[in-house]
C-alpha cells in the first residue's frame, strides 16, 4: 500500500472523548486505537452520532468544550499531541496536520481576496520567502485545479465548490503530512461533489500526504480510500482494505450499511424492504411488508374522487437579483400530469428548478406564465384565503425534519391542528385520529409519542411525524421534497418504505423531488430530469436510468458514488 515501509506517521492509543462530565457525559469516542502509515488514504465512515467527527477533531488537537479527551494518546511522529500547548500546536500546523471542514468554504473572510488568505498563512509561518509568495499561491491553486485568476477574487464571487477547493489549497499551503477531510463535499451539489472528490483523490496520489476522509457516505469512502475504518457508537467496528470491506464485510453493521447501496442503472434494484420495482409491478404484488410497520388503513378507503395535477407550459421568472443582471428563469416551459396514484420523480442538481416546481403546484409561488390545475382548482391564481381548499388535497413532506417541526409544540399539538382544520373533528375524536395517524406512520406506543417534543425524537422519527401531519387531511397527493436526504442511510429505507406503502394502500399520488437517483428508482414509476428549469428527459424510471438519453442524466448518474464501481473496473 505504501512505499515508506512500516514507519508509522500517526498512532492513536486507547483514545476516549466525552461530551460533558460525570453521569451526564456522552461517550462519543470509546477507547479507539489505530495507526496510520505514511502516504495512506484512509476513510472513516459512520452515521451521525457515531463519533467520527469528534475523533477527527481530537486527532488534530482541536477538541472544543464540552468535548474533552478523557484518556489515551495521539502520537504524531512519536510526539503526543495532548502535551503540546497552543503555541507548539500552532507550530506543528506547518508540516503536521491540516484539516478541511465541511463548512470550510464558509470559513473564508468575505472582505479579503483569496490571495490575501494565502499571504496571511505565509506571513504567520514564514516558511515561504517573500519574493516567492505569489508564485507559491499560484502553484497551490493550480494544484486544486483552479485558474490563477481566482487569487484576485473575493470569496463571495466564487461558487461553493470553488471555495471548498480554495480551502483545500489553504490547508495544503503548510505542506501537511496528514490531511483530515471532514465531510469535504457534503454541503456541495451532487455534480460538484463528484468533481471535488476527484481532485482530492488525484491530489493525494501526487502529493503523497496521508489522508483521512471522514464521511457518512460509505459509497464515497469506498470509491476513494484504500483502507476503511467503520465507526459505530464511538468504536471502530471494522478496519480493513476497501476491497475487503466491499467484498467480505465482517461486521453486521458494515453489512447493513453496504446493503443500502445499489447501482440505479442495474437491471434489478433491491434495497432492504424493497423488491425490484418493475418485477413487483409486473407481478402486481405490494412491497414486501416485512421491513416496516404496515400502515393501518382502517380510517380511510381508497379515494374514488381522484383528481390529477395538470401542469402545462409553466414558467417562473424571478426578477434580477442585482441591477444590471438578467432575470433568473427558474422554471422554463414545464408540462406534466400527475395521475391519481402515480409516483413521479423530479430529479436534478441544485438550481435545476425542482423545488420551485413544488412551490408552484402548492400555490406558495405564482407562475409567471402557464397554467396549473388540480381537479377544478386553478392553482396558478389561487388566493391565499382559499389555500385550505388546495391543501386538504395536496400536502407536503419537507426536506429537513429538524426545521419542519415547531420545537415548542408536542407531537400531539402538531398533528391535532390539521385534523381540526381539515376534518372538522374535535376533542376526543380528533385525539383518536391523531393516535391513529401515529400508528399509521409506525410510531408506537402512540400515547407516548403524542406527548413528546421534537427534540426528544430522532431524525427518522421526526420525519415520520412530518409525514403523519401531511396525512392528517386525507390528501390525494403528497409532494416529498428530498424527504430522506437529511437522514442517515439506515433510516432512509424505512421512511421510503412508509411513503411507498401509503401510496399503494391509500392510492395517494406522490411527487418525489430528489437528487438521489437510487431512491427515485425504488419508489417511483416515472421520472422527469430537470436541468436549468427545463425538462431534458422523462419516461419510465427504470428505462430512463438504465438507458439515459440526455448527457445531463448521464452526468448525474456518474456522480453517484458507487462502491462496486472500483472493484468492477
Amino acid at each position: 500500500m505504501t512505499s515508506h515501509g512500516t514507519e508509522k506517521l500517526l498512532e492513536v492509543l486507547d483514545l476516549s472523548v466525552d461530551y460533558g462530565y460525570g453521569t451526564e457525559a456522552t461517550h462519543a469516542v470509546r477507547t479507539v486505537s489505530f495507526s496510520l502509515e505514511h502516504g495512506e488514504f484512509v476513510g472513516l465512515v459512520g452515521e451521525s452520532g457515531s463519533g467520527k467527527s469528534t475523533l477527527g477533531f481530537a486527532l488534530t488537537g482541536l477538541s472544543k468544550p464540552p468535548a474533552h479527551v478523557t484518556g489515551g494518546r495521539v502520537l504524531l511522529d512519536g510526539v503526543d499531541i495532548a502535551s503540546l500547548d497552543a503555541g507548539d500546536l500552532r507550530h506543528q500546523r506547518h508540516g503536521g496536520i491540516a484539516m478541511v471542514l465541511q463548512s470550510g468554504m464558509n470559513a473564508l473572510n468575505p472582505v479579503r481576496s483569496i490571495r490575501n488568505h494565502f499571504i496571511d498563512i505565509f506571513k504567520a509561518h514564514g516558511h515561504v520567502a517573500r519574493d516567492n509568495w505569489h508564485a507559491r499561491a499560484e502553484e497551490l491553486v493550480g494544484k486544486v485545479e483552479l485558474p490563477k485568476q481566482v487569487l484576485d477574487r473575493f470569496p463571495g464571487e466564487l461558487s461553493g465548490g470553488m471555495r471548498q477547493r480554495v480551502s483545500i489549497a489553504l490547508a495544503l499551503s503548510l505542506e501537511p503530512k496528514l490531511m483530515v477531510f471532514d465531510e469535504p463535499t457534503t454541503a456541495l451539489d451532487v455534480l460538484v461533489q463528484h468533481a471535488v472528490m476527484n481532485t482530492i483523490i488525484e491530489l493525494q496520489k501526487k502529493e503523497r500526504f496521508t489522508a483521512v476522509l471522514i464521511s457518512h457516505d460509505l459509497g464515497i469512502v469506498l470509491e476513494s480510500a484504500q483502507r476503511v475504518m467503520v465507526m459505530h457508537e464511538g468504536e471502530i467496528v471494522e478496519d480493513g482494505s476497501a476491497s475487503d470491506i466491499l467484498n467480505n464485510p465482517k461486521d453486521d453493521y458494515t453489512r447493513m450499511l453496504l446493503s443500502h447501496y445499489a447501482d440505479p442503472r442495474a437491471e434489478v434494484v433491491e434495497l432492504p424492504g424493497f423488491e425490484d420495482r418493475s418485477a413487483r409491478t409486473a407481478a402486481g404484488k405490494p412491497r414486501a411488508a416485512a421491513a416496516t410497520h404496515a400502515p393501518t388503513v382502517s380510517s380511510r378507503e381508497r379515494r374514488t374522487d381522484q383528481k390529477a395535477m395538470v401542469v402545462s407550459n409553466v414558467s417562473k421568472v424571478y426578477p434580477a437579483p442585482r441591477r444590471g443582471e438578467s432575470p433568473v428563469t427558474a422554471v422554463d416551459d414545464v408540462s406534466f400530469t400527475l395521475e391519481p396514484g402515480e409516483a413521479l420523480a423530479l430529479v436534478g442538481a441544485s438550481g435545476s428548478g425542482k423545488s420551485t416546481i413544488a412551490k408552484l403546484i402548492t400555490a406558495v409561488e405564482k407562475p409567471s406564465s402557464g397554467s396549473i390545475r388540480f381537479g377544478d382548482i386553478d392553482v396558478a391564481s389561487l388566493r391565499r384565503s382559499r389555500f385550505r381548499q388546495l391543501h386538504s388535497d395536496v400536502q407536503m413532506v419537507f426536506q429537513d425534519p429538524y426545521a419542519a417541526l415547531n420545537p415548542l409544540h408536542t407531537v400531539e399539538y402538531t398533528l391535532t391542528r390539521p385534523v381540526v382544520n381539515f376534518t372538522g373533528l374535535h376533542g376526543q375524536d380528533a385525539r383518536r385520529r391523531v393516535l391513529e395517524l401515529l400508528d399509521t406512520v409506525g410510531l408506537s406506543p402512540v400515547e407516548e409519542f403524542a406527548a413528546k417534543l421534537p427534540h426528544q425524537l430522532s431524525g427518522g422519527q421526526r420525519q415520520r411525524v412530518v409525514i403523519a401531519r401531511a396525512l392528517a387531511s386525507n390528501p390525494q397527493m403528497i409532494i416529498a421534497d428530498e424527504p430522506v436526504s437529511m437522514l442517515d442511510v439506515s433510516l432512509r429505507a424505512g421512511v421510503l418504505a412508509l411513503l411507498e406503502d401509503l401510496r399503494e394502500q391509500w392510492g395517494v399520488s406522490l411527487l418525489y423531488i430528489t437528487h438521489d437517483l437510487l431512491s427515485a428508482r425504488v419508489v417511483t414509476d416515472n421520472i422527469m430530469v430537470l436541468n436549468k428549469g427545463r425538462v431534458v428527459e422523462s419516461g419510465n424510471t427504470a428505462d430512463v436510468l438504465r438507458n439515459p438519453q440526455d448527457e445531463y442524466t448521464v452526468r448525474l448518474l456518474d456522480a453517484i458514488p458507487n462502491p462496486g464501481r472500483k472493484g468492477a473496473a
Partner: protein, 307 residues
C-alpha cells in the same frame, strides 16, 4: 445532505422523558438567569426595591405628605435623610415614591411591550401594501426625537397624573421594540415549520401567535426589561420637568421640588442625591437582569457556564 458537524454528536436520541411542564420550563429559565452573576445582582436590587415599595406603609417613619416638621433640616436621628423645604421627611418620601416609580416602570414597560409585540409580529408576517403602511407609521415614531415628543404630548394632556405619564411613555416607547421583533419574525416566517403550519390549514393570526410568538419569548422578555428601564427614566424625566402631577410623591417629583427649592445651594444634597441614586439603581437592576435574559436567547453569551 446530512448536516454533520461536531454538534451532531449530541444528537443521540435522548432517553424517553416526560414533556417538561410549564412550571419546569419556568424553573429552568429562572435558574439560567440566576446563574448569571450580573443578573443575580440585578434581581437582588430589584427585589429589594419591590419589597421596600410594598412594605412602605409599614416601614416608612412618617406619611409621604406629612409636612409638620422643621423645614430644610439636615440628617438627624428623627429624619435620617433630612426634611424638604416644605417640611416633609425625605426618607418617607423616598419609600412611598418607590411605589410610583416601580408601578409606572412595570406597567408602561408591559404596555409598550404588548404594543411592540402586536405591531412587530403582524408587520413581520404580512407582506405588500400592509407592511409598507406599518413601516411608515413605525418609522414616523422612530425618527421623531423622543423627549420633545414626550413634552409636547404631556403638555397637551396636562394634569392627567400617573395615567397620563404612562400613556406618554407608551406612545413614545413601543416603536423600537416593534422594529426588533419584526426582524425576528421575518427570519422565523421563512422557517419550514411556518410553511408547514400553512399546509396544516392554519389562519395567519394563529400562525403568528401560536407558532412564531413562542419562539421569541426571550426576546420579548428582554424587550420588556428594556422598555421598563426606559419608562422609569422617562417618568422621572417628565416629572422632573414638572410635566406630571406635582402633588403626588414620586422620585421624579422629589427631584422637581428639590430643584425648585435650590436644594444644592442650601447644601441639602440628600434631596437630589437619594432619589437620583434610586432611579439609577432601579434602571441598572433591570439592565443587569437583561444580561441574564440574553443568556437564554443566545446560549453562547452565558457567562460562567460550565466549561
Amino acid at each position: 445532505m446530512s448536516t454533520h458537524t461536531a454538534t451532531n454528536m449530541k444528537a443521540v436520541p435522548p432517553p424517553i422523558g416526560e414533556a417538561p411542564t410549564p412550571w419546569k420550563v419556568f424553573a429552568r429559565v429562572a435558574s439560567t438567569i440566576w446563574s448569571n452573576g450580573k443578573a443575580r445582582i440585578g434581581i437582588i436590587i430589584l427585589g429589594t426595591f419591590i419589597l421596600l415599595a410594598l412594605l412602605a406603609p409599614l416601614i416608612a417613619p412618617y406619611g409621604a405628605s406629612e409636612n409638620g416638621f422643621p423645614r430644610s433640616t439636615d440628617a438627624s436621628p428623627e429624619h435620617w435623610l433630612g426634611t424638604t423645604a416644605a417640611g416633609e421627611d425625605v426618607l418617607s418620601q423616598l419609600l412611598w415614591g418607590s411605589q410610583i416609580s416601580i408601578f409606572v416602570g412595570l406597567v408602561a414597560g408591559l404596555l409598550s411591550t404588548v404594543i411592540a409585540v402586536l405591531v412587530g409580529l403582524s408587520w413581520g408576517y404580512v407582506r405588500g401594501f400592509g407592511a409598507d403602511v406599518i413601516n411608515f407609521v413605525v418609522n414616523l415614531f422612530l425618527v421623531i426625537p423622543g423627549l420633545p415628543l414626550m413634552i409636547v404630548i404631556a403638555a397637551y394632556l396636562s394634569g392627567g397624573g400617573i395615567g397620563m405619564i404612562i400613556v406618554v411613555v407608551v406612545i413614545t416607547g413601543w416603536a423600537w421594540g416593534a422594529r426588533v421583533l419584526r426582524s425576528q419574525t421575518q427570519s422565523l416566517r421563512s422557517r419550514d415549520f411556518v410553511t408547514a403550519a400553512v399546509f396544516s390549514g392554519e389562519r395567519p393570526f394563529r400562525i403568528v401567535f401560536r407558532e412564531i410568538l413562542p419562539n421569541m419569548t426571550s426576546l420579548i422578555v428582554g424587550n420588556f426589561f428594556g422598555a421598563a428601564t426606559a419608562a422609569i427614566l422617562a417618568e422621572a424625566g417628565l416629572e422632573y420637568l414638572g410635566l406630571g402631577d406635582t402633588t403626588i410623591v414620586s422620585w421624579g417629583t422629589m427631584l422637581f421640588w428639590a430643584q425648585n427649592s435650590n436644594a444644592l445651594l442650601t447644601g441639602q444634597w440628600a434631596l437630589l442625591f437619594a432619589p437620583g441614586l434610586c432611579i439609577a439603581l432601579l434602571a441598572t437592576s433591570l439592565t443587569l437582569i437583561n444580561f441574564g435574559v440574553d443568556g437564554i436567547s443566545n446560549p453562547r453569551l452565558r457567562e460562567g457556564a460550565k466549561k
